[in-house]
């Protein structure tokens, strides 16, 4: 490596030290100029032959055709440059310098040995400050069975959010691997995603296996750092436990049409809500199945759209939650049966002429409808009135819609509206008179809503600072919880591509 660089350096020195070239261009006569051209021509030939030698060595040393091509191109450009130098002698020394820098960089930019095969690494950092009317620890969303997920709002005071550590690389010509570890502020490490995906199945097919964000609705597949608000919609919280990552396999097919159309299926372990118990059942086969489809396209040059539908089927067994019964005792209840979740989503993005750098607008909405039927068991630990089981049926829904407008370069403002409908819930133990409805206060009919506004500033595409205000009416019988959140989200390392 040193030897190659020194050759280039000596060429540059030869160029720079040639005294004729330091005469200002306007002072030379035609005769001088001819002489100068001749000299530069010789230099050029000299340079070319040396670069050629460099190219050969590069080829031998690194067996890389791409590099050889670059070096050959380099030689030609350097020659062409040398020619143009004669007309503008004053710029010569700096140009020669940059040629040297470039040649050196081109020869040595790629790391050698083991580190050359290191996967792409990126790190997402985020931190928050919360100011809430009520403590996040008492948060509940009335009318819906608790999910056991991280549904509470961002807590009071200063907190470190989850840091995401992302590794990804092609494994071989057939597979690509991605691991996303979540480093929690509580010093725990979680595996958010860890999946392999195929690279060379043909016919529009791709397959994934491992842990990945389930293709349910739209936002679920997007990492929280790329969300437009600091927290998830209420509907995601009650129907997906904030965000559903499943252990399983996914197969997706993209149609060979000019309009985007895909069909996909996922089969999973059922490791999280709406399946249950947590970490899945001890059984062969699958614990969850999900089918999805998307349709998308452009309207002119300025607008792009996508709509999607998905249907998630799980069979929770002993999916538990905490409630406070009529006696004021904290009890554990559970559900076993079938859970079916339909999700419809739509996204529309607008930017003048498709150039989103200064102004752009994004409109997004999702609708969820869940039907569950099976058996509800009251007080599984027999802590209060004793364990009893009856049938249970519910049909519940919820939706949100949000718009985010980038009104100036780096500045965006957004509004989101959340609404949940408790629909109909039928509890056999209450219908039969075995227990009163007051023993299931969390399931009592209630319509949570929330209004959220946010403003964010992006220093670059790698840094963002956000302020968000929300009026959250998720708790029955209490006035709205006013939540203010300040947040920073920064990413460092490899340049990740974001989904539409």
């Amino acid at each position: 490596m040193f030897e190659k660089r020194s050759i280039v350096r000596s060429v540059a020195l030869a160029l720079a030290c040639s005294p004729a070239l330091f005469h200002p261009a306007h002072a030379v006569t035609d005769e001088d100029l001819r002489e100068l051209r001749e000299q530069v021509k010789q230099l050029k030939q000299n340079y070319e032959s040396r670069i050629e030698a460099l190219e050969k060595r590069l080829q031998q040393a690194e067996q890389s055709t791409g590099k050889a091509e670059a070096a050959a191109g380099k030689a030609e450009t350097a020659a062409a440059k040398a020619e143009s130098f004669s007309a503008k002698a004053e710029g010569l020394s700096t140009k020669a310098e940059s040629v040297v820098q470039n040649a050196a960089a081109q020869a040595g930019s790629r790391p050698a040995g083991e580190s050359a095969m290191n996967p792409g690494v990126s790190l997402i950092m985020n931190g928050t400050y919360g100011n809430l009317t009520r403590p996040a620890s008492t948060y509940r969303i009335n009318g819906f069975a608790p999910t056991g997920g991280e549904v509470a709002p961002i807590g009071r005071g200063l907190s470190l959010g989850e840091s995401e550590l992302v590794f990804s690389a092609n494994i071989d010509p057939r597979f690509r691997g991605t691991v996303i570890a979540a480093l929690g502020a509580d010093d725990r490490i979680g595996v958010e995603e860890a999946f392999i995906q195929t690279l060379d199945l043909d016919g529009g097919l791709t397959a994934k296996a491992g842990r990945f964000l389930a293709g349910v609705g739209y936002l679920n597949e997007i990492h929280p750092h790329a969300w437009d608000f600091a927290d998830a919609p209420l509907a995601s919280k009650v129907f997906l436990g904030n965000q559903l990552g499943e252990d399983g396999v996914q197969v997706k097919w993209v149609a060979p049409s000019n309009i985007y159309f895909d069909l996909g299926a996922e089969f999973g372990r059922g490791r999280k809500f709406p399946a249950g118990p947590d970490n899945g059942r001890d059984k062969n086969g699958f614990g969850s199945g999900n089918f999805f489809t998307h349709l998308g396209g452009d309207i002119g040059a300025s607008t792009a759209w996508q709509v999607g539908a998905s249907y998630l089927m799980t069979q929770p067994q002993g999916r538990t939650w905490q409630d406070t019964d009529a006696a004021g005792t904290n009890v554990t209840d559970s559900f076993s049966g079938k859970s079916r979740l339909l999700a419809l989503s739509g996204v529309l993005k607008w930017a003048p002429n498709g150039n989103s750098t200064v102004n752009n607008f994004k409109l997004q909405g999702e609708y969820f409808r869940r039907r569950e039927n099976g058996a509800l068991t009251y007080d599984t630990a027999a802590a209060s009135l004793g364990t009893q089981t009856g049938d249970y049926r519910s049909a519940q829904s919820g939706w949100y819609t949000q718009g985010v407008y980038q009104f100036a370069r780096q500045w965006r403002a957004g509004y989101r509206y959340d609404r949940l409908s408790p629909g109909t819930t039928s509890i056999g133990l209450v219908n039969s008179g075995a227990l009163t409805a007051a023993n299931f206060p969390i399931l009592a009919s209630y319509k949570p809503t929330r209004d959220t506004v946010m403003l964010d500033w992006s220093g670059s595409e790698f840094s963002r600072v956000r302020v968000q205000l929300a009026r959250d009416r998720s708790r029955a019988g209490l006035p709205a919880d006013n939540q203010m959140v300040l947040q920073y989200i920064m990413s460092l390392g490899a340049h990740g591509a974001h989904k539409f």
Binding site: G66, G73, A80, G91, N102, A105, S109, V254, S257
Partner: protein, 301 residues
């Protein structure tokens, strides 16, 4: 109507939307490569340009329509050098099209075939959105187009061997016209040599190096970061000491920073087409350079 009928109709609709299979489908990330593929492929290729001259190829959404086009592509032609890092990898992995996977014959990165400028010695985002592989805007030097055309013609012949003679003939014809045009442009641009220029982004480094223009500053304080008042006032100071002949920007740049500096420094702001479609005259690659040089000559008097 039954559900079955509905599904059947939906599929028929999709079939009707299928792209024509006769020609080789070329997916070009930028308009300049779409134009080049069209020159070299003629009616043997069906070219789709993923972006327009009004869009910044650094910042493109991986839209569903782009994934759909990628799905049917036989050859992808892009600048490379990380220019499309924010969207192209996603199109490649989402489309399930093994013909165009990175590193294969169906994947052509133009910048790999020329010597790149401004390869950073230190790779640090404190320097802005740097491209470790060097400046990706290689097409602004017409001589680079020559090399890339040769490589692309060879690649077309490899991917679509049946039409190899046609590609060879078309590329001979194109290169002949192109080389004589380069001679003409270099002749026309003689008076521009040594002239100082302020650019918006470092998108004209290859043009400057080719025509001998001297870049005296960029409106962006660092690559990829928007102009700031502080940086612009520094440039105003610089223009008082060493006035540039032009402030150059592209159709996809916000023109306000250029006109701000122009007003204060009395240096004319010139919009160059940057790529095919960037101006009325830049209908093809020849028009692109004709117009670029004409605009520089007109404003630089």
């Amino acid at each position: 109507m039954s559900l079955k009928n509905n599904i059947f109709l939906a599929f028929m609709g999709l079939l009707a939307a299928l792209p024509a299979q006769a020609a080789l489908n070329v997916f070009a990330c930028e308009p300049e490569w779409a134009a080049l593929a069209q020159e070299l492929g003629g009616d043997r290729v069906s070219v789709y340009a993923a972006t327009t001259a009004l869009q910044d190829a650094h910042h493109i959404e991986a839209r569903p329509s782009l994934i759909a086009r990628m799905r049917s592509a036989d050859l992808v032609v892009c600048s490379g050098s990380d220019l499309e890092a924010g969207w192209l990898p996603l199109l490649l992995t989402q489309s399930g099209n093994s013909k165009v996977k990175a590193g294969g014959d169906g994947y052509f990165e133009a910048s790999q075939f020329v010597a790149r400028l401004e390869i950073p010695a230190v790779i640090d985002r404190a320097q802005g959105d740097v491209h470790p592989g060097g400046n990706p805007h290689v097409h602004t030097d017409a001589r680079n187009i020559t090399r890339i055309a040769e490589a692309l013609a060879a690649r077309l012949a490899k991917v679509d061997a049946g039409n190899a003679p046609a590609y060879a003939a078309r590329s001979r014809d194109f290169l002949e016209r192109w080389r004589s045009a380069i001679g003409r442009w270099e002749q026309q641009a003689q008076p521009l040599k040594g002239a100082r220029v302020v650019v918006y982004h470092k998108e004209y480094s290859y043009l400057n190096s080719w025509l001998g223009l001297v870049e005296k500053g960029t409106l962006e304080p660092k690559p990829g970061l928007p102009p700031t008042p502080g940086h612009l006032s520094e440039l105003v100071g610089l223009m008082q000491k060493e006035p540039a002949r032009w402030i150059v920007y592209s159709p996809y740049n916000d023109p306000r920073a250029a006109s701000f500096l122009s007003e204060r420094s009395k240096v004319p702001a010139v919009m160059l087409p940057f790529t095919v479609g960037g101006s009325d005259r830049a209908k093809d690659l020849f028009g692109l350079f004709d117009d670029t040089i004409a605009r520089l000559l007109a404003a630089g008097k």
